[in-house]
């Protein structure tokens, strides 16, 4: 009995150590990924900045799909709301607060739409594929609004003149208009969001979401208003997608309806699946990696990229269906003998 108890406490300590090691490894990797583009040319830095914005979009989806089990094609719609709000509202606001005002409007709109749609669907008991299909419809509608409501959205041509991120209080003001500061703004927003979602997932919220993914009825019988939790995650995820969209418009200076399409939602899903659903940092790293490879491949053949991506995705489903990060962690566990990790054999 005593022996068993002590071996289990050793195991617990080892797990804690293992956890700490993988946390520091992830944090280090993330810091390296974020810092590296600062050494590059301003064009490459802009590409890296856009990659981080799409990583934020993937992260917003991973919180919803990976942690709460709700697959959504609606991320592009909320991304679009953020982007268009900055491009439409931003120029109306004086001083350097345009982007911020647009961003707040976009987040508000995304929260309102996802709150209303989500409330009726989730409390109405819609789950699984049916819920996914409705989110797909959301993106189709958003795309239609972006192209058809030309007097406001600029139609097919889109809008230019979205203001860069800035803040103005009294006489003091600051704007991020050069490549380095734009990159830093995006990198900071992404890091803060990643850390916050990671911290939230480790506590009670994470436990409840795991229980809901395991079996929602069970979680309800434990006293949790599971619909309330799912709705909160859906709304939060939509708000984050709107932030990503707002940052994109603000950094690029324009929006176009291409942004709001199903392609963007699908890309986010591919990035999450590739990085490892539910790992949060996995989809972020995967997005950066995929966009980097896309740049390289497209530089010598534009047509090759979609073919490669499709082939790669099919191969991935067969070879490492759980995604990149779980694959790496499995490999590390296999290659490094257990005793070297301090485990009890």
């Amino acid at each position: 009995m005593t022996l068993q108890a002590s071996s289990s406490s050793v195991k617990a300590t080892t797990q804690n150590k293992g956890g700490l090691a993988s946390i520091s490894l992830s944090a280090g990797l993330m810091a390296a990924v974020l810092a590296y583009p600062l050494l590059l040319s301003s064009y490459q830095m802009d590409v890296a900045r856009d990659a981080l914005i799409f990583a934020l979009l993937a992260l917003s989806l991973d919180f919803l799909w990976g942690k709460a089990g709700v697959l959504s094609f609606g991320q592009a719609a909320f991304f679009g709301m953020g982007a268009y709000a900055v491009a439409i509202v931003g120029p109306m606001v004086p001083n350097d607060n345009g982007a911020l005002a647009g961003m707040v409007t976009g987040i508000g709109l995304a929260v309102l739409v996802s709150g209303i749609v989500g409330y009726f669907l989730i409390y109405g008991g819609v789950r699984g594929a049916y819920l996914t299909i409705v989110t797909l419809a959301l993106t189709l509608i958003a795309r239609n609004v972006a192209t058809s409501w030309a007097s406001v959205t600029g139609g097919e041509a889109g809008l230019i003149g979205a203001p860069p991120p800035g803040l103005s209080i009294g006489g003091w003001s600051v704007t991020a208009s050069d490549s380095v500061s734009l990159y830093l703004v995006v990198a900071i927003v992404l890091s803060v969001t990643l850390t916050a979602l990671w911290a939230a997932s480790r506590g009670r919220l994470g436990r409840v979401l795991t229980a809901i993914q395991d079996d929602e009825a069970k979680a309800r019988a434990l006293g949790y208003d599971t619909s309330g939790y799912l709705l909160a995650v859906f709304v939060l995820s939509s708000g984050l997608a709107a932030i990503a969209g707002g940052l994109y418009a603000s950094a690029a200076g324009y929006v176009a309806p291409d942004l709001v399409g199903l392609l963007l939602s699908t890309q986010a899903i591919v990035h999450v699946a590739f990085g490892g659903r539910g790992t949060l940092i996995g989809p972020v790293l995967a997005t950066v990696l995929v966009i980097h490879v896309q740049q390289e491949v497209s530089s010598f053949s534009y047509a090759l990229w979609p073919l490669l991506l499709g082939a790669f995705f099919i191969a991935m489903v067969f070879l490492f269906p759980k995604g990149l990060l779980p694959l790496i962690s499995d490999l590390v566990h296999r290659l490094v003998p257990r005793r070297d990790r301090g485990g009890t054999a």
Partner: protein, 232 residues
């Protein structure tokens, strides 16, 4: 403590429960017997609101539950240990217990130490993933987890399923002890007749969505009675 009157419920097609009435007092263990498919599990799921009821009433301490959502019923003190245990395999044993604290509602929840006090085998498994436990340990965890929220009524759906015989006996003794010491009202659905008769104060028999007989456990030790009610 728990009183059910003329309860009618169904999944979709045709009512499964066709007017169930029963009561379980504080400190009493009632065994619900019946052949497969008569609606025993459906009754337990209806009591916690997972299956909608169309008619009749369910009360805890006189408070009606009917239009209340499952999570509120749980917080009012009705705990279900579902068939197949219902532990969350991807959470650690300790996190499974922590996850159940919400069910306490406004009552103070049991601490993890208090919850596993009757189950010494679980203490050293606290950091382990619940999915890696043996069948018996998972069942013990499921019962410990149900107790975390200090329920007034405990519903057990086939606690002996897939559990080795000596653990079944332990579970039986524990169920009896919980009723005697905490004044819990316990409704237990059990195929293992030995376990049911050893723990229950009273047995009720269900057939075709209704309660058709009620009697002391000793009555069911008679072969003729068993054949008549359970076709065994």
């Amino acid at each position: 403590m728990l009183s059910v009157d003329n309860l009618v419920a169904s999944y979709n097609a045709g009512p499964v429960l066709q007017g169930v009435s029963l009561s379980v007092q504080a400190g009493e263990v009632v065994a619900l017997l019946g052949r497969n498919g008569v609606g025993k599990s459906t009754l337990l799921r209806t009591l916690v609101g997972l299956v909608p009821s169309w008619n009749g009433s369910i009360r805890i301490d006189g408070t009606p539950l009917a239009p209340i959502a499952t999570h509120d019923i749980a917080r009012m003190g009705m705990a279900l240990v579902p068939q197949g245990r219902g532990i969350i395999g991807k959470l650690s044993v300790a996190d499974n217990l922590r996850a159940a604290m919400r069910a306490a509602g406004s009552r103070p929840a049991l601490s993890i130490d208090q919850a596993i006090a009757p189950f010494p085998a679980l203490r050293e498994k606290l950091p382990a993933m619940a999915g890696t436990l043996s069948g018996g340990q998972q069942q013990q965890l499921a019962i410990a987890r149900a107790m975390v929220g200090r329920p007034k009524v405990l519903l057990l759906d086939e606690p002996s399923e897939g559990v080795q015989p000596n653990i079944v006996q332990q579970i039986g003794q524990l169920v009896r002890k919980l009723a005697d010491e905490s004044g819990l009202a316990i409704l237990i659905v059990e195929q293992n007749l030995e376990l049911a008769l050893a723990t229950a104060n009273r047995c009720i028999v269900m057939a075709k969505g209704r309660i058709v007989h009620s009697g002391p456990p000793d009555e069911f030790r008679n072969e003729a009675v068993l054949r008549r009610h359970l076709a065994l």
